[in-house]
C-alpha cells in the first residue's frame, strides 16, 4: 500500500502535463487518454527502478515513448485499409473525424480570450514535433534544460538550439496569424 500511495502522490499531480504531452504528439483526445493510462501503468510497474528527486523527467519519458509507439502503430495501420473502408463510406456519425482542438470553434471560443487560445494552439500545431515538444516541456512544465535533455534523449546543447528555433518559429507563426486575422477584420 505504501508504494501505491507514494506512486499516486508523486505522479497524479502531473497527469494533466502527461495528457498534454501525449495530446500534442497524437492530436487526438481518446488516443491521448489511452496513452496516459498505458504510460501510468508502465510507470507503476517500473516504479521501483526510479531513483530521482523529480519524478517528472522519468514519467514524461515513459509518456512520450508510449505516445510515439501509438503514433508509429497508427502510421503502420494507415497502410492497411479494410475493403469496406475503401468502398463503402460509413454513414453513421461515429466515424466522423473530430476537428483538431486547435481549429475547434465552439460558441464560447468566439469570446476574445478563446480566440487568442485558438490562435496560439494553431501556431503551436504548425511547429514540427521536436520543436513543439521542447516548448511544452520548457514553457508549460518548466523543466530544466538538463531534464528536457533526459526526456528527449538528446544533449543539452541540442535542447538549447531547438528551443531557440522553436521560439523563433512560434513568434513568426503567431505574427502571421495575427496579420491574417487583422486583414479579415479590415
Amino acid at each position: 500500500m505504501d508504494r501505491d500511495q507514494k506512486f499516486e502522490r508523486l505522479t497524479l499531480p502531473h497527469m494533466e502535463a502527461a495528457y498534454n504531452i501525449a495530446y500534442w504528439i497524437l492530436r487526438s483526445p481518446p488516443d491521448a487518454e489511452d496513452v496516459v493510462q498505458e504510460a501510468y501503468l508502465r510507470a507503476y510497474r517500473a516504479f521501483h527502478t526510479w531513483t530521482g528527486v523529480d519524478i517528472r523527467p522519468w514519467l514524461f519519458t515513459i509518456v512520450r515513448n508510449s505516445a510515439y509507439q501509438v503514433l508509429s502503430l497508427r502510421k503502420r495501420r494507415a497502410n492497411v485499409i479494410s475493403i469496406e473502408d475503401a468502398f463503402a463510406p460509413r454513414e453513421d456519425s461515429e466515424t466522423e473525424i473530430p476537428e483538431p482542438a486547435s481549429e475547434d470553434r465552439s460558441v464560447e471560443e468566439r469570446l476574445i480570450g478563446d480566440a487568442e487560445q485558438a490562435m496560439v494552439r494553431s501556431a503551436l500545431a504548425k511547429l514540427p514535433q521536436i520543436f513543439r515538444e521542447v516548448i511544452i516541456l520548457r514553457e508549460w512544465e518548466e523543466l530544466s534544460y538538463h531534464a528536457i535533455a533526459e526526456v528527449m534523449a538528446v544533449p543539452v546543447g541540442t535542447v538549447m538550439s531547438r528551443l531557440a528555433r522553436a521560439r523563433g518559429l512560434l513568434g513568426k507563426h503567431l505574427a502571421q496569424l495575427i496579420a491574417t486575422e487583422n486583414s479579415h477584420v479590415v
Binding site: 501505491d4 497527469m15 498534454n20 496516459v36 493510462q37 479494410s82 469496406e84 503551436l124 513568434g171
Partner: protein, 256 residues
C-alpha cells in the same frame, strides 16, 4: 560581447539557465540596448500567451488510471518481500531472494499442478486479454460493418472458423475482430459495443456442451458457454443481466 552574442543568451536567461556572472552581464546589456530589451519582452510575452494553449484532460481520467493501477496492484506480490529484506546486507538479500524465489517457484509448480484447473487459467487469460484490448487505441485488427469481412479474415489465420454475427438488432453492435492468445492457443476475439461498453467475446473449438456460467473476476462480468462445437467467453464491464443476453444470440441459427 556583441549584441548578437547576447541575443543567444536571452532565452537561457528567461529560463534561469545562465550562470550568475553571465546573467549579470546579460542584464546589464539588456538595460542599455533597446533592441535586446524588446526581444526579451517578446520572449516573455510568448511565454504568457503559450499558457493559454494547454488542453484539459477529461476529468474522469485520474479515476480511470487509479482504477487500472488498483487492478494491477492486487496482482503484485513482490512488495512485502522487498520491505522485509530491505535492510539486510546486499549479498544476504540476494541470497535470501534467490532462495525465496526457488521456494516459491517449486511450491507454485506443485500447487499449479495439483489445484489450478484450466478454468482459472482461462479466466486470467481472458481478463488480461480484454484489458489489453481496452488499453489499445484500436482493439480490433479487422473492423467491420457486417460479418462478411470479419469471417474471411479469421479464415486464413486460425484452424477453425469462428461464428461471426452482427447483433446490432439485439443490442450488441459488432466492432470487429482480432486474434489473441488464451489458454495456450490462438483464439478468435469478436468485439462488440453496447452503450459505450466494450464486450470481448473469445471463441475457440470445444467438443463439450455447457450452459452459460457467470463469474465476476476483477470487477468485470464474464459469462462462458459451449455450444455447437465452440466455446464462448464474453467479458465486459457491462451489467450482468445485459451480458447474460449474449449467450442467447451466439451461435446464431444460420450455422446450424
Amino acid at each position: 560581447m556583441s549584441c548578437e552574442q547576447f541575443q543567444a543568451k536571452l532565452g537561457p536567461m528567461l529560463d534561469n539557465e545562465l550562470p550568475s556572472q553571465e546573467r549579470n552581464a546579460t542584464i546589464a546589456h539588456v538595460n542599455q540596448c533597446a533592441e535586446c530589451a524588446r526581444d526579451y519582452e517578446r520572449l516573455q510575452a510568448l511565454q504568457r500567451r503559450l499558457l493559454t494553449a494547454r488542453v484539459q484532460m477529461p476529468r474522469s481520467l485520474p479515476h480511470r488510471v487509479r482504477a487500472r493501477i488498483a487492478l494491477e496492484g492486487e496482482e503484485g506480490i513482490q512488495q512485502p518481500v522487498k520491505r522485509f529484506f530491505g535492510r539486510a546486507r546486499p549479498y544476504l538479500r540476494h541470497a535470501a531472494v534467490l532462495l525465496f524465489a526457488c521456494g516459491i517457484s517449486a511450491s507454485a509448480a506443485l500447487w499449479w499442478g495439483r489445484t489450478a484447473n484450466d478454468r482459472e487459467l482461462i479466466v486470467r487469460d481472458v481478463v488480461s486479454a480484454h484489458v489489453r484490448g481496452l488499453l489499445q487505441d484500436n482493439s480490433v485488427q479487422v473492423a467491420s460493418l457486417d460479418t462478411h469481412t470479419v469471417k474471411p479474415w479469421f479464415a486464413g489465420r486460425l484452424d477453425f472458423t469462428p461464428v461471426v454475427k452482427d447483433l446490432t438488432a439485439e443490442g450488441f453492435k459488432l466492432v470487429g475482430g482480432r486474434l489473441d492468445y488464451v489458454g495456450g492457443q490462438r483464439v478468435a476475439v469478436l468485439v462488440y459495443t453496447r452503450q459505450k461498453h466494450q464486450i470481448s467475446v473469445f471463441i475457440w473449438p470445444s467438443a463439450r456442451e455447457t450452459s452459460p456460467t457467470m463469474v465476476a473476476p476483477n470487477g468485470f462480468n464474464l459469462v462462458s458457454w459451449s455450444r455447437s462445437g465452440m466455446t464462448f467467453w464474453a467479458i465486459s464491464d457491462l451489467g450482468q443481466a445485459e451480458l447474460e443476453e449474449l449467450p442467447r444470440h451466439l451461435p446464431s441459427k444460420i450455422f446450424h
